[in-house]
């Protein structure tokens, strides 16, 4: 198996592993980009192509296809924020976020949806983002779909996805095929541990190689600590080299200077960096309105093997419960399935001892559905807030209120009904007090009574959005629709933290499309060249 990234390094790409630095460094560039995920990768490619001198700073390690051995024991500590155990302040929501070169795009499950039209329309009407209309954004999504080889998954779904399709169809709930950003995919099912065949068109195999080929410099294992401001400009970024363990700073500092800085550390780390830097925040908006698509889980047992560990992890979805409700009414949800692997499944599943072991013995026959709740539209769905611990690390408070639990109950009911309709013999919500149900009738009664509360009902998230929201005025946003910071003139935010609500779909393509637009505008502004014709 070829490893194009290692080949590129051998051919002279500039990469510095900051954990190996022995002396402090000062680096100058036209643009310093913090983060190498969806936002940082796309920005790097576009700015490097415009002839700008780029430095990309990534806190996580550089890992490439030869390293991806599909073992959870190595992938989670190596490739995810906090070993895939990042949690909200009350520990009630577990958050999966990448922390490696390529960011979450290295470990996501490849689902590629455009920002739903209703979300863009809501941003136009409620957040003043007039220029981000469906028609205006369409060419950017199309461009990124082409760049990242996004297409409807042509292979039949694995049984985990097929059961969602079968049960929903049985109940008259429409489903559709998921577009994926893959090329010559082997249909293995291990996207969450890094793609071992380079089929996934993550930043690791697309935009970052393009930027490096144009002379960009990538620095891994380097944590962006704080900006130094002078007036309304950022003059320097102070960064800390990490030890090879990725947990502790080594004591070596790196000082980065640039004409312009792009923040793309993701929707927890980007606002946290600005908070640590005490960036101007005259309206108290920074870190607020952070959204998660807080997700419920329903697990069913089938007589036949499901083998949810094998095959494209996500290939079927339903937006029925998003599309047929008011966008700002009682919260809607998107239905998808997760891949199941032993660590992820066993740690998520409730119970201990024999009860847990019994469920694990049926691991291969387990089928699981997710309901991703669309947060941030209803007036009582205000999301969470990023703040800083004493040691400066970020912590997300995300209270789950009655508005959320009302939706959660509907979602758990819907998923159980679909699973029984698909042929499940037993279904349980992932919930500490639930002992499971043998029929839809039993589930309907049981779920109506089930007490829903944090740390009783399991809630997870793989989509962090918001915290540096864009808006039309500084009174209600941190950045404008181009990602330019309202108070700091040479700072842009190019990641999911600019979304003023959740997306209502897996967010990667929303980030790619918006950032392609904003990086193109930034390239024009910094080089004085013409704006792209698309604008």
């Amino acid at each position: 198996m070829r490893d194009p990234f290692r080949e590129g390094l051998a051919a002279g790409w500039k990469h510095v592993d900051a954990s190996q630095l022995a002396v402090e460094l000062t680096i100058e560039a036209d643009v310093v980009i913090v983060g190498s995920g969806a936002g940082g990768g796309v920005t790097a490619e576009i700015l490097a192509a415009a002839g700008l001198k780029i430095v990309i700073v990534e806190e996580g390690p550089l890992r490439t296809s030869s390293d991806f051995n599909m073992r959870e024991a190595e992938a989670y500590p190596d490739l995810y924020q906090e070993s895939a155990a990042r949690k909200t302040a009350d520990k009630a929501i577990n958050i999966l976020q990448g922390r490696c070169v390529g960011g979450s795009t290295t470990v996501n499950w490849t689902s590629s949806f455009r920002t739903p039209p209703r979300t863009l329309q809501w941003w136009q009407s409620a957040w003043g983002l007039k220029r981000l209309g469906v028609d205006a954004m369409a060419p950017w999504f199309a461009a990124m779909e082409q760049r990242l080889h996004v297409g409807l998954w042509p292979i039949p779904p694995n049984e985990n996805n097929a059961a969602l399709a079968r049960g929903a169809t049985q109940l008259g709930i429409p489903v559709a095929v998921i577009p994926r950003n893959v090329k010559m995919c082997w249909n293995l099912g291990y996207c969450g541990m890094g793609c071992p065949t380079n089929a996934k068109q993550s930043m690791l195999v697309t935009t970052l190689p393009a930027a490096l080929t144009k002379g960009a410099t990538l620095i891994s294992r380097l944590r962006a600590e704080s900006f130094e401001f002078s007036g309304n400009k950022a003059v320097a970024l102070s960064a800390l080299a990490m030890k090879p363990d990725g947990i502790h700073p080594s004591g070596i500092k790196v000082n980065l200077r640039a004409r312009h800085f792009v923040l793309a550390g993701g929707a927890i780390n980007s606002p946290a960096l600005l908070l640590r830097s005490k960036a101007a925040d005259p309206h108290g908006l920074l870190g607020k309105r952070t959204f998660l698509h807080p997700t419920l889980i329903s697990s069913g047992l089938f007589d036949k093997p499901v083998r949810a560990y094998a095959g494209a992890p996500q290939s079927v979805y339903s937006d029925h419960f998003l599309d047929n409700v008011a966008v700002d009414g009682p919260l809607g949800f998107k239905l998808e399935v997760p891949p199941l692997h032993p660590v992820l499944f066993s740690t998520t599943l409730q119970g201990w001892g024999e009860a847990h072991a019994r469920l694990m013995r049926e691991f291969a026959n387990s089928q699981t559905i997710l309901a991703l709740v669309r947060d941030g539209f209803h007036p009582e769905s205000r999301g969470g807030q990023v703040r800083l611990r004493d040691d400066g690390s970020p912590l997300l408070d995300y209270p789950l209120n009655e508005t959320y639990w009302e939706a959660a109950r509907r979602a758990l009911l819907t998923m159980a009904e679909i699973q029984f309709a698909a042929g499940a013999r037993w279904v349980t919500p992932v919930h500490e007090s639930a002992t499971g149900y043998n029929s839809w009738a039993e589930a309907k009664r049981g779920l109506a009574e089930l007490p829903l509360a944090p740390l009783r009902c399991r809630v997870v998230s793989a989509h962090v959005m918001g915290g540096c929201a864009m808006a039309d005025t500084p009174q209600r946003g941190v950045v404008d629709d181009e990602g330019r910071h309202f108070q700091i003139e040479n700072l842009s935010v190019h990641d999911g933290s600019v979304f003023p609500t959740s997306i209502g779909a897996n967010p990667q393509l929303s980030i790619y499309g918006l950032v392609a637009r904003n990086a193109s505008l930034l390239a024009a502004a910094l080089t004085g060249k013409a704006k792209p014709a698309i604008l």
Partner: protein, 161 residues
């Protein structure tokens, strides 16, 4: 300290217990190994072989896995986990907060099971999240190992040449 208060949202009772435990902090990790050695066989009942020569070795390997997992968490989280095990290791708080009246090595599986259930269904978020941490650490360490996969019908990752 903010982190300690966060961990102790249970309020006064929890705060007092943790302060007592912190004052009597056992030697680094010393308490943790004893607590985990008692908890692992109960949490993993049904997965861990009930008897046989391999059992102590499997418990030790799980313990090592838990330690490795803790080492991969953010420093602030490692500190909270340290506080959790201090609470469980110090005799007074072990009795008051966990209801375990004998030292861990002598605690019966039934007593440990009662402790796990009481925390799992506690009305205090602190104790619920403490149970969740023990659950995730121990099951994560167990099922991360390829030798546990045959029992659950997981073939392991495919070969990619």
């Amino acid at each position: 300290m903010t982190t300690r208060r966060e961990f102790l949202k249970t309020g006064l009772a929890g705060g007092l217990l943790l302060n007592v435990a912190a004052c009597a902090r056992p030697s680094e990790n010393g308490g943790r190994t004893v607590v985990l050695s008692a908890l692992i066989p109960v949490m993993l009942a049904g997965a861990l072989p009930a008897e046989g020569a391999g059992r102590p070795e499997l418990i030790v390997r799980t313990l090592d896995g838990v330690e490795r997992a803790i080492g991969g968490l953010a420093p602030a989280t490692q500190k909270e986990i340290g506080e959790l095990f201090d609470l469980l290791a110090f005799p007074l708080t072990r009795m008051l907060a966990a209801g375990i009246w004998s030292p861990w090595p002598e605690a019966t599986p039934a007593a440990i099971g009662n402790f796990l259930e009481s925390w799992r269904h506690s009305r205090f978020d602190l104790l619920k999240s403490g149970y969740a941490a023990l659950h995730d650490l121990i099951f994560g360490a167990w099922y991360a190992r390829p030798d546990t996969w045959a029992a659950i019908g997981y073939p392991g990752p495919p070969k990619v040449e």
